[in-house]
């Protein structure tokens, strides 16, 4: 314990705050991730199949989603949080704390993930889709058995990349009031000039990202052929 006390005096002095901040970050990550993951797959898939020449070509839907994605992606996340403030309050009942963070987090990351997913599906060999159509498979079967099934490895890769970007979003929203490691590093490390706290937050995030990356790599490898 002495080494830890020596290296991280302020962390050890008040360990509950540190543990609490880790839990908040995990909470934000675990609550929002399933949602942006599913939404991103849906939007990315819709973009890929409604594009000109796609399996379910639909100009209106494609143009709408395409423009919306571009618009959302061009707004910096901090500004997006402010912009969404009233809507967040309406949806979540509050705009602060972990609860108030979920909605802007999802809105912030989904366009990024959707684009990644879209590029994965656009990279699929179109002849695979054509041969599935020639086999007499219907559009839903093709979505499930070709688009999704054949993209597991690439989807694991872009999900990992998105998780890492998502972590920085969590830190940003944490620092402006939602809590978590971002808030911890900002409030105790930066404002009170306690460098050991900032370093502890960085190490924790590093461990976190390493775990995500390892899981992503394992899933990707298992499905590569």
């Amino acid at each position: 314990m002495t080494i830890l006390e020596h290296l991280f005096p302020h962390v050890v002095e008040n360990p509950d705050v540190f543990v609490q901040s880790i839990l908040e970050t995990l909470q934000m990550f675990l609550i929002a991730t399933p949602e942006w993951f599913i939404l991103g797959i849906i939007f990315g898939l819709t973009l890929a199949i409604t594009k000109p020449g796609g399996m379910w070509e639909n100009r209106a839907v494609f143009q709408f989603l395409d423009k919306l994605t571009n618009l959302c992606r061009s707004i910096p996340f901090v500004i997006m949080i402010a912009l969404l403030f009233p809507l967040t309050r309406l949806i979540s009942g509050t705009a602060i704390g972990v609860r108030g963070a979920i909605f802007p987090l999802i809105v912030g990351i989904t366009p990024f993930f959707s684009r990644q997913v879209e590029s994965v599906f656009n990279g699929l060999n179109p002849m695979l889709i054509e041969s599935a159509q020639a086999m007499g498979l219907g559009p839903w079967s093709i979505i499930w058995s070709v688009y999704l099934r054949e993209s597991i490895s690439a989807l694991a890769r872009v999900t990992t990349i998105t998780c890492i970007s998502f972590n920085s979003e969590i830190a940003v929203i944490g620092a402006i009031g939602a809590g978590g490691l971002g808030d911890y590093a900002n409030r105790y490390g930066f404002e009170r000039n306690q460098l050991d706290i900032t370093v502890a937050a960085v190490i924790t995030l590093l461990v976190f990202i390493t775990i995500i990356q390892t899981i992503g790599t394992i899933i990707g490898r298992k499905n590569e052929h």
């Binding site: 002849m127 007499g136 498979l137 219907g138 079967s141």
Partner: protein
């Protein structure tokens, strides 16, 4: 045999491109008989793939009619079309197997919605894989197989729903000659044993020659010649067909040699180059030597070949005739009378031009 399983009349297909409408097919008329192996041959970009994609409705047509198994393709709903596609399978040049699935999984994919239980599916998959000789590779992934093996998997997959028609779009074009041969043998067996009607799209005359009963030659989106494979081979009419046959038999090569230096080949500048095609080898060779004596002409044989087309022998001789022109004419008339097709070779052109008097060779000439 006898009834048309695919009937196409005045089919046209236009693609809308940024540069305007592009006509890929026009006025295509085809009748494909049940049980036949029908070759569609043409150069790259001629419209072959477009034509087969119209047959299974992957490509909407712009005009004309197209009936497959008694159903009018353009009039079918999406659902009816999917149902019909179970009876019209397609095999592609690039195999198009699903990389993430095992060999078995690829075949089983075609059985989705087949109503079979998973045990029945497994059973059927195994049977299909043993039909194409790949039962021991059931658990492999496509990337672990050779091109020929992958194409066999694609064929097994294509057979999963007991189709009546098999469309092969350049199915052997990515394979080496030996593998091509084994795949073609398999195709022929499927035609015989399962009574499948097979459409073979290719740019290789070799493929047509070895398995097709019928052939259509397509050039710039239109059919320039069609008929029984033997007849088209023996009596090519269209310029493109003559080039295909000439390239295949080696005749084009001979003409190239003659063009680049007839004198060096020891040719008589006044002699006539004649291409003789015949169906009966022994008779033909006997006749050629007989006319030498009978009509007092000199026959200098430059090139001879023998082929088997759709199971029938077809021979070809290029020779130079010298002597009295009147005698040569009599000699050629005599040969025509014996069922030998005579065509004058013009070294300037890529193929032997059939003279207006060219007799046709039919399988009946095979004694």
């Amino acid at each position: 045999m006898g009834n048309a399983i695919i009937e196409i009349t005045q089919l046209s297909k236009r693609y809308d491109t940024p540069e305007g409408a592009y006509t890929a097919l026009h006025d295509v008329n085809l009748n494909i008989e049940e049980g036949s192996i029908f070759g569609i041959i043409g150069l790259s970009g001629a419209g072959k793939s477009t034509l087969v994609r119209c047959i299974n409705g992957l490509e909407p047509i712009s005009g004309g009619t197209i009936n497959v198994l008694g159903q009018s393709i353009p009039d079918l709903s999406a659902k009816e079309l999917r149902q019909l596609r179970k009876s019209i399978s397609m095999v592609f040049q690039q195999y198009n197997l699903m990389p993430s699935r095992t060999v078995e999984g690829n075949v089983a994919l075609a059985l989705r919605h087949s109503g079979l239980s998973s045990a029945e599916k497994r059973d059927k998959t195994r049977k299909l894989l043993s039909l194409v000789g790949l039962e021991q590779h059931a658990q492999s992934h496509p990337s672990q197989l050779s091109g020929g093996q992958q194409q066999r998997v694609a064929i097994a997959r294509a057979l999963a729903n007991n189709p009546r028609i098999l469309l092969l779009d350049e199915a052997t074009s990515a394979l080496d000659p030996d593998t091509t041969k084994t795949i073609l043998e398999l195709v022929k067996r499927l035609n015989r044993e399962l009574h499948l009607t097979i459409i073979v799209v290719t740019h290789q005359m070799d493929v047509v020659k070895s398995i097709c009963t019928h052939v259509a030659v397509i050039d710039h989106g239109t059919i320039v010649e069609q008929g029984e494979a033997f007849d088209v081979f023996a009596n090519p009419q269209a310029e493109l067909t003559r080039r295909f046959v000439g390239d295949y038999t080696g005749l084009s090569h001979v003409i190239d040699v003659l063009r680049s230096g007839g004198a060096a080949a020891g040719l008589d500048p006044d002699g006539q180059l004649i291409h003789m095609s015949y169906a009966n080898k022994t008779v033909a060779e006997g006749l050629v030597s007989a006319v030498t004596e009978q009509f007092h002409v000199t026959v200098n044989i430059l090139f001879a070949s023998l082929d088997i087309v759709d199971g029938y022998p077809l021979g070809s001789i290029v020779a130079q005739y010298s002597g009295d022109p009147e005698h040569i004419k009599q000699a050629l008339d005599y040969l025509r009378g014996k069922g030998i097709r005579i065509a004058t070779v013009h070294p300037e052109s890529k193929a032997s031009a059939s003279t207006n008097a060219a007799a046709s060779i039919t399988k009946e000439h095979i004694a």
